[in-house]
């Protein structure tokens, strides 16, 4: 997502925006992913305070320190089950609204606004349900009591660092793919769209993006595979220890070789399956030609 936005930003008419996007892309694309991850890690380590003086923004609903991040989360009350059912119903109603608007559009040509209608239905029913049940759930905020995290959802920092680092890195690659694929759409297509009086949204939605997506799909799958493979670098955060860890395991009853092999097999299966699926979809997507 971030990648797509940045890819489009690079094509923006706003000079500053496109330059910043370019700098971002060219920076992250050209340094090792390992460096991105450890850099994120170090920056988080330095930027966030230690546990004792954790940063508690928004009236202590969040916890940020350099070991863990805590976010508020939902805890169900008595009627939470009922509420879940209502949310499900709201979802169904939204789908129904969506279909209704599409049908209407097909039948009479009235602009459908189906996103608006669908969302509106969903939100309306959910809110009504929420009020009717008198607040079926509570929000718990994380707290630190005697060094133990209570309530909310917490995320350990290395994990957060790996995720953030990988997302930043992968986004820079995806941005390039998106940009390239949009530029690869023939100029004549845009002109034809223009000549048919499509507005800029319609042009993107019906002409440019469907074609760009077909171009971008294989490299995107590839990026996705890279993302999963790179996530193996999660090991490497504080990589000084990893050799130590595995060596330690070796020193004991050496489960490490097996572990490593299992890990490799898992990755292998994962990437084979994914690329098989990717190929399949890609074949379906191919534009029919002679």
């Amino acid at each position: 997502m971030l990648g797509t936005l940045i890819g489009i930003a690079r094509l923006s008419t706003n000079w500053l925006l496109s330059k910043i996007a370019t700098v971002y892309v060219e920076f992250f694309r050209n340094i090792p992913v390992l460096l991105v991850i450890v850099l994120t890690w170090t920056i988080i380590l330095n930027a966030f305070p230690p546990v004792r003086i954790s940063w508690l923004p928004f009236g202590e609903t969040f916890i940020f320190n350099n070991l863990r991040f805590g976010f508020p989360s939902i805890v169900g009350g008595d009627k939470f089950g009922t509420f879940q059912v209502i949310v499900l119903l709201a979802l169904l109603a939204a789908v129904a609204a969506w279909i209704w608007r599409s049908r209407l559009f097909d039948r009479s040509g009235t602009p459908h606004h189906r996103v608006l209608y669908g969302l509106g239905t969903f939100v309306a029913i959910s809110v009504v349900g929420f009020i009717a049940l008198g607040g079926p759930f509570d929000i718990t905020t994380p707290e630190i009591i005697d060094r133990v995290y209570v309530g909310g959802i917490t995320m350990i920092m290395p994990y957060a660092a790996v995720m953030i680092g990988l997302v930043l890195y992968t986004a820079s690659h995806i941005a390039e793919i998106v940009r390239g694929s949009i530029l690869s759409v023939d100029k004549g297509q845009v002109e034809a769209g223009n000549a048919l009086a499509l507005n800029s949204f319609q042009r993107y939605r019906f002409v440019i993006l469907p074609q760009a997506f077909r171009v971008a799909f294989p490299p995107l799958i590839n990026q996705f595979l890279n993302f999963t493979k790179n996530s193996s670098l999660a090991f490497a955060v504080g990589f000084a220890e990893i050799t130590g860890v595995i060596q330690n395991l070796f020193g004991q009853s050496r489960p490490a070789p097996q572990l490593l092999l299992i890990l490799m097999v898992v990755y292998l299966v994962f990437s084979l399956v994914l690329s098989a699926i990717g190929n399949l979809i890609n074949r379906r997507l191919q534009i029919v030609g002679r």
Binding site: L16, L17, F27, L34, K229, I242, F270
Partner: protein
């Protein structure tokens, strides 16, 4: 926001009139509508904030850690009394490549002139604009130097480039046309200065000699009589083998690469990875198209396996499991050697796929035309298909080179002291331990990686354009 691509397109088509004032430029490019104005203001604030912050940071940080460890970062633990090897090898490289590239430039310039095209001779200024990131990095390094020799060395190197560029341009045509063999020889020499003349260096010297002999002999013995044919096929092998033995017998002692380190090792590992991955990858690619199920199966399994698992797991495998598999009687190769082998195989798998793509891009009519003229299958591959395929995949290959360059940072995880590893090493030195200077070192290393990778990717885009023009 959505009409961006096309708006930009039209902006490109209708270039700004020469009489645009800065004010008009600002209006057109930053405040051309409400949305953009808001974006500009918001981003402007953020950018200014970040710039101020990072300037403050740069001014305040302790760069002493880089200053002290500069040599480590560059060349690792290379001993002082062996430094002459590094300098000599660097200068040999600079000289041959300076001469070689500009000789080639002169050749293609003449080619183009023959075809009636005019190509501007690339001036030193062009070179500067193409390679500025690396120059900036070199300048950064020099500015951290504590003693004079490296500064002088760099100045000598840069002026060496300038001199050799002119020298290469001025060479007579027959020599110029042999620019590539010359660069190959230069590389071998510079390698030999570093690592001695035995083992791998001798082997590569033999291979290079074989290749050069093959191309030279086929120039002089063109006939199809048995004698010429014999010389053309037997000669290179004899010369190659002889070179191997002679070079090996010289017995010049080197400084083994097990003890290299820093950026030097990183670059070296990348080059070796690609250089040895290329022939293996080519074989794998051809093998994958083979009709023999055994060969094909092996190639497919190898390629898919290597591409399916993360490099780091392969490295860990080589580092922790491989030694267990060696029988005690055989001496296990060093960690770095094993890592290098993994890197070579890893890049071979990726290169194989790139080449396969290139092979598929060669129209079938080419093979058929060659078959029609009665060429043997091997010859068709070697003379018709491969050249076209390789040409088509050059950009992708450069891309692979770049990503391998970045990936070599992973050998740090198995404890090899390359460029990236010195972040950890320098921060665990007693003088800097616990001072929280990781960011400083990361920043330095990032600039290092970035300058090389960015330059290469710019170059590859340039190359892509050139090839595109050349094809049509």
């Amino acid at each position: 926001m959505t009409d961006t691509a096309e708006a930009k397109e039209s902006a490109k088509l209708a270039p700004l009139h020469s009489d645009t004032t800065p004010a008009k430029w600002v209006k057109d490019n930053l405040f051309n509508n409400v949305m953009n104005s808001i974006i500009t203001v918001l981003l402007g604030v953020v950018v200014v904030f970040l710039l101020v912050q990072s300037f403050g940071w740069i001014a305040n940080e302790e760069w002493e850690i880089i200053r002290v460890n500069l040599r480590n970062f560059m060349i690792g633990q290379f001993p002082s009394d062996q430094l002459w090897r590094l300098w000599t090898s660097a200068f040999v490289l600079i000289a041959t490549f300076g001469i070689g590239t500009s000789a080639r430039a002169h050749n293609s310039h003449d080619d183009a002139a023959e075809k009636g095209l005019v190509i501007e001779r690339s001036s030193l200024l062009d070179l500067l604009s193409r390679f500025w990131p690396i120059l900036v990095f070199v300048a950064l390094v020099v500015s951290f130097a504590k003693t004079w020799p490296p500064v002088l060395g760099v100045i000598a190197g840069v002026s060496g480039i300038v001199v050799t560029r002119f020298a290469g341009w001025a060479l007579p045509a027959p020599i110029r046309s042999r620019a590539i063999p010359m660069m190959a020889i230069g590389t071998i020499v510079s390698l030999a200065v570093l690592a001695g003349t035995s083992g791998l260096v001798a082997l590569s010297a033999g291979i290079v000699a074989l290749a050069i002999a093959a191309s030279e002999l086929s120039r002089f013995f063109e006939g199809s009589d048995p004698k010429s044919t014999a010389i053309r096929t037997g000669g290179p092998i004899v010369i190659g083998a002889a070179t191997l033995f002679i070079v090996n017998a010289v017995g010049f002692e080197g400084y083994g690469w097990e003890d290299w380190g820093g950026l030097h090792l990183t670059l070296f590992a990348t080059v070796v990875g690609i250089a040895s991955g290329m022939p293996i990858g080519m074989l794998l690619a051809i093998g994958r198209r083979s009709k023999l199920p055994v060969i094909k199966g092996f190639c497919v399994v190898f390629i898919e396996f290597v591409r399916g698992v993360p490099l780091i797991s392969l490295l860990l495998f080589s580092s922790f499991i491989l030694p267990l598999l060696f029988p005690p009687s055989v001496e296990t190769p060093e960690t770095l050697t094993r890592a290098m082998i993994v890197i070579a195989l890893f890049s071979a798998a990726y290169i194989a796929e790139i080449i396969r793509g290139g092979l598929q891009a060669v129209p079938k009519g080419q093979t058929e035309a060659a078959q029609a003229s009665g060429m043997s299958a091997a010859k068709i591959q070697r003379l018709i298909v491969m050249p076209q395929a390789l040409r088509a995949v050059i950009p992708a290959m450069v891309g692979q080179f770049i990503s391998l360059f970045k990936d070599t940072s992973l050998i740090a995880t198995i404890g090899v002291a390359e460029f990236f590893q010195y972040v950890a090493i320098s921060n665990s030195q007693p003088a800097f331990l616990g001072k929280g200077l990781q960011l400083v070192t990361y920043a330095f290393v990032a600039v290092g990686y970035w300058s090389f990778a960015y330059t290469m990717s710019k170059e590859s885009r340039r190359l892509e354009k050139q090839l595109g023009v050349g094809v049509r």
